[in-house]
């Protein structure tokens, strides 16, 4: 008897094969499109062939710049990651503090949560000009854009999760003599940390977005800066590897955060294996 579709499972090899298939198709489509365009106009820059891309990769990723002696890709990556890390760190700290305070302390919630709700709806790109003017064009404004872009989300998410905590735990802690501060420090905070990391994982995409947008407007280096710079010449042979590289970095940071969560919070996974 034939099984229902929902009951049919591919094997291990099947999963690997099926998973790779769309990527292979995409690469094939690209190669065809590129060949067609290049046949039409050998100077076409939109869909460069793989040799051209490889050449560009060698240039940006392995050849030191004559003037500065730096390798462009690594210098850009370092600059971008520093900004991203700083922005994420600040946003995370803010999200944690405000989120927990909003979730646990009624007076703080009354005062701050409407503000956070409204601010989270403000499109950060629209206030970008204001940001630059208030915070200048240095690193600060880029970090601030990331913070403004993701901190409200983190705050609201953490608040929701703090509010979701079983009331019973807070009561229990009180009957064990804990003060508000002790409850926050020893009951709420440790349980929020893994959720915070999950929320940060969700914010990685937007964080990259804001970083790239900020770097496009004012920067002297960085992945977004480079893409923006060469966009004027439609140098897709540089843009495409950069996009792939950013995607890889995003995936890597996602995996890293996941691993951190598993490492630091054994109690989360405990019992899963039972």
């Amino acid at each position: 008897m034939a099984r229902r579709l929902i009951n049919r499972h591919p094997g291990r090899m099947g999963i690997a094969y099926l998973g790779l298939l769309p990527f292979v198709i995409l690469i094939f489509l690209y190669a065809t499109g590129s060949a067609l365009r290049l046949a039409d106009n050998p100077g076409d820059k939109l869909l460069p062939g793989f040799p051209a891309i490889a050449e560009a990769i060698v240039r940006v990723a392995f050849t030191p710049d004559r003037r500065t002696g730096e390798i462009v890709l690594w210098a850009d990556t370092a600059a971008s990651l520093a900004r991203l890390g700083m922005g994420l760190a600040v946003a995370t700290a803010l999200g944690l503090v405000v989120g927990i305070a909003n979730g646990i302390i009624p007076y703080v919630r009354a005062g701050l949560s409407p503000l956070v709700a409204v601010v989270s709806m403000v499109p950060p790109m629209a206030v970008l000009p204001i940001l630059f003017i208030v915070f200048g064009l240095g690193e600060l404004s880029k970090v601030v854009l990331i913070v403004i872009g993701i901190a409200p989300f983190l705050m609201r998410d953490l608040q929701a999760r703090a509010e979701e905590m079983p009331r019973e735990q807070l009561i229990k802690a009180q009957t064990l003599g804990a003060s508000s501060w002790q409850i926050v420090l020893r009951v709420v905070l440790p349980q929020m940390l893994p959720r915070l990391i999950d929320s940060v994982r969700l914010s990685l995409g937007p964080a990259w977005l804001f970083l790239i947008s900020a770097e496009a407007i004012a920067a002297e280096g960085g992945l977004g800066y480079r893409i923006f710079l060469v966009r004027r010449y439609l140098a897709m042979d540089v843009i495409l590897p950069y996009v792939v590289w950013i995607t890889l970095l995003a995936i890597a940071s996602d995996l890293l955060l996941r691993a951190v969560n598993r490492r630091l919070f054994p109690w989360l996974e405990a019992g899963r294996g039972m």
Partner: protein, 261 residues
């Protein structure tokens, strides 16, 4: 040895009366089993004993003193679920109450002092039969073991009053037998006063020294919210004969089973 006095207590939520005219004098070292149909206000009553809720009218006194307006160490509690902290091991769960008392700022001890406290907790866990599970996280423990842990955690603070809200409701029958034995042993040893809400009449009879039932005395739909539940049945079990208990069981059997639509 703790007495609890409840004087004409009412509780309303948004103008709806949930509990009305509750009067109760509980002698020192009593084990009060509380039964009643679902939604009649048993948990609400327990929450008032805990100061998690404040009575709309009336007063509750423990050893003659009015209750403070929020939960304190003198009244311990074990809920049906979520009583223990999932991010702490069994020993750390028990140590929590001792650590917050000893370290106001960080709520946490280090080095030798921590080791001493954990040793003490190990002994407390031994007493509830969890000696071997000291370093396990709650998620690694079965339901019954988690409730034992919650009890050990509450008892380490030596509360005057222990409040239990359906503490064994989620456990399988076989496991309940053991934990009942443990409960009785601890009750005898500590001398505290216990209030326990349960849906299981057998459990109520088995553990309690006194049985009270909450119920609505007006139950027509239009009367709900206007009239609340109150104590409709009060039986001192330690002095009741087997026949009295049997009658009480029959009388209560139907009531407790009533479910709201």
């Amino acid at each position: 040895m703790t007495q609890v006095t409840v004087r004409d207590v009412w509780k309303e939520y948004d103008g709806n009366v949930v509990i009305e005219r509750v009067n109760l004098d509980v002698a020192a070292h009593s084990f009060v089993s509380i039964v009643g149909p679902s939604g009649c206000g048993k948990s609400t009553f327990l929450r008032m004993l805990l100061s998690q809720e404040i009575p709309t009218r009336g007063e509750i006194r423990v050893d003659g003193a009015p209750l403070p307006p929020e939960p304190t160490e003198e009244r311990g509690v074990v809920f049906q679920r979520y009583s223990v902290f999932p991010h702490l091991t069994a020993a750390e769960n028990v140590a929590f109450g001792l650590e917050v008392a000893a370290s106001p700022l960080l709520g946490r001890l280090f080095g030798n002092r921590r080791r001493a406290v954990l040793e003490q907790c190990r002994a407390a866990l031994d007493a509830v039969g969890l000696g071997a599970a000291c370093d396990k996280y709650p998620a690694q423990l079965s339901g019954g073991m988690q409730q034992r842990l919650a009890i050990a955690q509450a008892l380490i603070k030596k509360p005057k009053v222990l409040l239990l809200d359906e503490p064994f409701g989620a456990l399988d029958p076989g496991i309940r037998v053991d934990i009942h034995k443990l409960m009785l042993k601890l009750f005898d040893e500590t001398g505290m006063t216990v209030f326990m809400v349960t849906h299981d009449l057998r459990e109520a009879f088995h553990l309690g020294t006194r049985l009270i039932a909450f119920d609505r005395y007006k139950t027509r739909p239009e009367e709900i919210g206007v009239y609340g539940a109150t104590i409709t049945f009060d039986l001192p079990l330690d002095r009741a004969s087997a026949r009295e208990k049997g009658e009480a069981l029959d009388e209560l059997q139907d009531k407790v089973a009533v479910q709201p639509a």
